[in-house]
């Protein structure tokens, strides 16, 4: 990327060649939604990670995590600011994806348009091609 005008920050820790550092980050939400604040923290973390523009974030709801994706409009989810986080993430062009098989086997539906549904195989490929995977 040397010639396209990307700058170098030589005095900022190890982030020497910023232009080379586009990172694909996969945040995985796989646990039941309301037993801890963990899933809310995962979304807050996803929002935070977008601050560094060189991070390209995906949020993947798999296994029991799809309960979080399916229940975003219920009072408990609102209490934990989940809808607000999801709206922010969409605004920041973060992809939010829920696992099709997990939804089917749990007879769940996604009502929020921010979240797209994809087969597990596709999600697995996203995980394995990510530079950084952060499971919650």
């Amino acid at each position: 990327m040397g010639d396209n005008g990307k700058f170098r920050i030589v005095d900022f820790g190890l982030r020497i060649e910023r232009g080379d550092r586009m990172k694909n980050v996969a945040i995985i939400i796989r646990a039941l939604p309301f037993n801890t604040i963990r899933n809310s923290e995962a979304l807050r973390c996803a929002v935070g990670l977008t601050i560094e523009e060189e991070n390209k974030i995906k949020v993947l709801f798999i296994d029991d995590g799809v309960f979080s994706a399916a229940s975003l409009s219920c009072p408990a989810a609102q209490e934990r600011d989940l809808p607000k986080h999801v709206e922010t993430l969409k605004m920041m062009e973060v992809e939010l994806i829920a696992e099709e098989e997990a939804l089917v086997s749990r007879k769940l539906k996604i009502s929020r348009e921010e979240i797209t549904i994809k087969p597990r195989q596709v999600i697995n490929e996203m995980i394995s091609s990510a530079d950084v995977v952060i499971p919650f």
């Binding site: 929002v47 935070g48 601050i51 560094e52 991070n55 950084v132 995977v133 919650f136």
Partner: protein, 109 residues
Amino acid sequence: MKLCILLTTSPEDQNSIVVIKLVQAALEGGHTAGLFLMDDGVYNVVKKNKISIRFAGLMTKGASIALCGHTAEERGVGAEDCLSGVKYAGQYELACMVNEADRFLTFGG
């Protein structure tokens, strides 16, 4: 190589010991290591918590440690309660770490 680790569990979890040993090994191998603590993970660097001395040791050897001030505040853990040298930071710090790291690992529940 720069190794960065996100730790979100309290010292009750074995994660703390694994992280300490990983960071030690990385530093001894001549690598750089950064830790980010979030949620109950912030308790690892509370001075009065016995395990914190081991995290202090990592900083002496060159590791950098930052934590999520928001989750610390929720727990009533102020900057003055933490080891000196720990950066009382925010998710921006984590975003940068994720971007800078050659290897990024998460230790959660």
